[in-house]
Structures are given as C-alpha cells and as structure tokens.
Amino acid sequence: MKIFDPHIHMTSRTTDDYASMAQNGILAIVEPSFWLGQPRTNVGSFIDYFNSLLGWERFRASQFGIRHFCTIGLNPKEANNPKLSEEVISLLPRYLQKDGVVAVGEIGYDDQTDAEERIFARQLELAMEMDLPVLVHTPHRDKKRGTIRSLDLIRSVGFPEERALIDHNTEETLPLVLDTGCWAGHTIYPHTKMDEVRMVKLVKEYGSERILINSAADWGISDPLKVPKTTDLMLESGITLQTIRTIVWDNPAHFFSQSRRLDLAGIDTRPSIDQTEFYGGSTVLRGGQTPVVES
C-alpha cells in the first residue's frame, strides 16, 4: 500500500525513522513548518529553519526513497510576538514561491488571541495571492470553538474552502469541517489528539471523502509509523482497500497537487536511492558505511 503522510516534522526525527517509514510503504510526506518547542528569539532562526526544510531535509528524505514536500508559514504560537511576526510575514513571499512548497502552514489559532487572528488572516490572504492551499492547525485548548473560528475566518476572507486542510480533528470537530468544503486531517498520536481505534470508528461513520490522517511526529512523544499502523487496523476492521487508499494516498496527493508543485504522476513510484550523493558537501552516511545505490 502506497502511503502519503501529509503532516510530519522530520527535522526532529532520525534516519532510522526514515528507513522504517520507507519500509512501511511511506512514499511521500509533507513537513509543515512549526515552532522549535521553545520560542525563537530572532528572525534569522526562521530563515535557517525554512532553508533547512527546503534543503538538507528534502535531501535526507531522498536518501531513503521518500519524496519530501513542505509548507511554510508562521505558526500561531509565535504569531503572538509582534516584532518577530512582522519580520517573518515579510519573509514569506520569498519562500512561498520556491519549489517543493505545497501550502502555507501551519497557520491558525493557538491561544485564540487577536494577534493570532490577524496573522492567520494575513497568511490566508497571502496564500490566495500566491495561489497556494493552506494547512490549518486547530488548537489543543478550546478546540471546538477554535475550529469554528477557523472555518468562519476562512469564509470571511473568501478563501476557497476546497484549498484548506483543517488539521487535528476530533469526534466533535470532524462533522463541522465536513459541513464546509474544507478537508479534514486527523493526527494519530500515542496519547492525545486521536488514536487508531477512534479513527477507524470515524471512517466507518463518515467514509473517506476529504478525510486525511497523519502522524504529526515531532520532538514530542509521537510515532512516525502511525499512518501505516492505522492503515493496518482499518484493513483488519473490514474497511475496504479503496476507502483506505483514498484516505492515505489519493486525498493528500490531490489536496497538495492544488499547489501545482506536486506532480501526481511523478510521485506515484518510489524514487531510486543513491546514497553516494552529497548535499552541500554533506552526506547522511558516516565513515565506513556502504552507500545504497538503486539503478
């Protein structure tokens, strides 16, 4: 089964993760930009981070036969820093026009402050200007209200709903999202957000239309194999192959192909690996390791 994980923070993961992801069928991933787990103190830190998503991380993924795309944006937590947020917003047009950037994201609400709303709205407008979809994070706290506010904001700025992916849904928010034209992401986490069993129930109830699942694996307790694990459980639970394929491949591929920077035919097969390659003089190999080279 071909798998597309539409939300995973690979900069926080190891090469072992890449190897097991590839082994478990993951062919393509989207890495949304987010925060570092602690606040950044200056805009230069964003520049280096965005560059690493587009550069070294994409190369690292390629060394394991995985296609890496990313989304660029100012995350909601850091939208609350007025000086930094202005500086980052002014950087964005430069990054949003680069190859491999398939959406503006993660954007949205965290504490649901006025500053967050202002930055969220500006990034929705920027996405329209750049003709890109958006990846919208929904808050952990006061989630239902945060989701409703996100959907309202998308509508009020006139952002095309079919180009918005609303992420981290739960039993209570999924029906709200499906009532609009937006797509609905689900983060399968070991302890919070959503788990495999609950996800199976949701798929049985709502089907596969505009529904996606992701691991959102990062530096916290998370699991980069949650999408294949959920796929397995869906199969065991009698959900049809076609439904599963729609959720773990067709939907993410179609959603992000709206960026016109992801070629549907081109991502269908695993890229061949050549670990003799270097990126800016660096390699994922360490001394004495034998490079994998596929013809």
Binding site: Q38, N80, Q112, R145
Partner: protein, 285 residues
C-alpha cells in the same frame, strides 16, 4: 524587604556561595549586561537549588511583608536571582525593563522559572506581562508550573483570555487546580464553558477528565450544561465524586441541592461525604 531576602539567603548559603553572591552584587552598579547574564545563570552552580523552607519566625516576618506571595518552595538560586534584579531597579525605567527581559529571554529553563517567580517582587511588574503570558505557551511543564502554580502574578495581572488559557493548559497537564493562586477570584463564564467543552471532548474520545475540572466549570455554569456535573456525582472513582460534590457548592439552586442530598444518602466515602456537607452548608448561607 530586600534586607529580609538577603538575610534569608546569607543564613543558608555556603561560604563559597555567599562570597560569590557578594561579588555578583558588586557588578550590578554599573550594570555590565554580559556579566549580569553570567551571574544570573551562575546562581544555580554557586548557591545550589535547595528550597528556602522558611522557619516559623521567618514565615511570620515574610507574611507581614508579602502575604500574597509564597516563597517557601523557591530555591536559593532563585532567591539570589530575584535579589539581583531588585538591585538593578535604580536603572532608568526603559533600560530596567529591557535588562530584566534579557535575563528572561537569554535564560535556560531554570533561569526562566526563577524569573517568573521573582517577577512578583519587581517594581512595576505589570510591565512584564507579555513575557509572563508568553511563558504559558511553553511545552516544558516545570516552566508552566512556575507561572501557573503558587504564583499570584496571573490572577493579579493576566487579562481574562490569557488567564483562561493558562487554566486550560494546566488541566491538560494534570496540574491540580488548587495550585493556581487566586483562581476563585477569576472564575468567569467563558472559563466555565471552555473547561466544560474540554470535558465533553474528553468524553467523546472515551477518555477520563481531570477530577478537579468541575471546580472551574461549576461556579459560572450555564443551566443547560449542569447535567454533566450531576453525572460525575455517580462515578465509581471517588475523586470524581469528591470534586463534583465540592464544586456544586457554587451552584445555589434547588436541583443541585436535591442531587447532593440524594448522593449523601448512598455515599460511603468519608471525604466525599464531607464535601457534600460543606457544599450543602454553603448553599444555605
């Protein structure tokens, strides 16, 4: 106040630590930012992190100075950091705020925790509101606890939205609501709604809710939501029954009184019974 704090530090510091601290204080006038940041960091190394644990005489004295501010749990290093920031309070206001903020922004997690506690001693502490709010966005639980728990700052200074978010985040992190100082003075209908929505989300996901959540939900609850609290009066887990009982004391209506009385007839846990009686007594008042 600074004399009392300095004496408290002196009586607990090692000779080595006290010598270091006196030298560190000499670099506060004039301020050399780089050395100040170094000393702010070095306090843990030179003085250690042992809790102050005031004796009864000191406790009386401290309570007469700042009854709102518990310091028993502060480490020696944290007290030293607070004194250093007090010593530079002679700076012109703009420069003072900037220098104090540098100590927060350049600090590691322990330094930031100390800063969030020490904040309560600083002149014009409302000027540091943005940094204190930002601290609540952390993923580091001890840092969240430094601002949310045993700290009077949020209740005294946070706007409602930020206060509510901090309480919700504390619930998420299984932090006991009793540790949030001044929580009762900040109960509001929006907080009640947010906490009740959180309980509903946990229930929909088949997960347990923090037992003390009702203490936040009940005081300003809207009538159509109250049934959820009644249902927790019947839970197998006595902590749920305890907190549901205790929280209903805030809801002074006939239905809640009847629900509590009905529970009292079948309740076997002494702690829950005491909570029911206390709530019923509160309703009569």
């Amino acid at each position: 106040m600074i004399d009392f704090l300095t004496e408290t530090l002196r009586s607990r510091a090692s000779t080595r630590g006290w010598t270091w601290f006196r030298r560190a204080c000499r670099t506060t006038a004039p301020v050399d930012l780089n050395r100040l940041l170094g000393n702010y960091a070095g306090a843990s190394f030179w003085l250690g992190k042992k809790a102050l644990a005031l004796d009864s005489r000191e406790t009386r004295r401290w309570k007469s100075l700042r009854p709102d501010l518990p310091v028993d749990h502060w480490g020696l290093d944290e007290l030293a950091r607070a004194i250093l920031l007090l010593k530079i309070a002679y700076l012109p206001p703009g420069e003072y705020v900037e220098t104090v903020l540098e100590c927060y922004q350049q600090g590691d997690s322990r330094e930031q925790q100390s800063w969030l506690r020490g904040l309560n001693l600083l002149p014009g502490r409302g000027r540091f509101l943005d940094a204190a709010i930002d601290a609540c966005r952390t993923n580091i639980v001890p840092l969240l606890e430094a601002i949310a728990c045993e700290n009077p700052y949020p209740a005294a200074h946070f706007p409602e939205l930020n206060f509510n978010q901090m309480v919700l985040k504390s619930l998420f992190n299984a932090i006991s609501m009793e540790r949030i100082l001044g929580l009762e003075s900040r109960f509001n209908p929006e907080l009640s709604r947010m906490a009740d929505d959180y309980a509903s989300e946990r229930e929909a996901a088949g997960r347990d809710v923090p037992p003390d959540i009702w203490w936040v939900v009940a005081p300003r609850i809207s009538r159509e939501r109250i049934g959820r609290i009644y249902s927790y009066l019947q839970r197998g887990n006595s902590r749920h029954r305890y907190w549901a009982s205790r929280s209903l004391g805030y809801v002074r209506d006939e239905r809640s009184r009847l629900e509590l009385e009905r529970r009292r007839d079948i309740e076997t846990d002494d702690r829950v019974l005491a909570a029911i009686d206390a709530s019923l007594a509160k309703m009569v008042q």
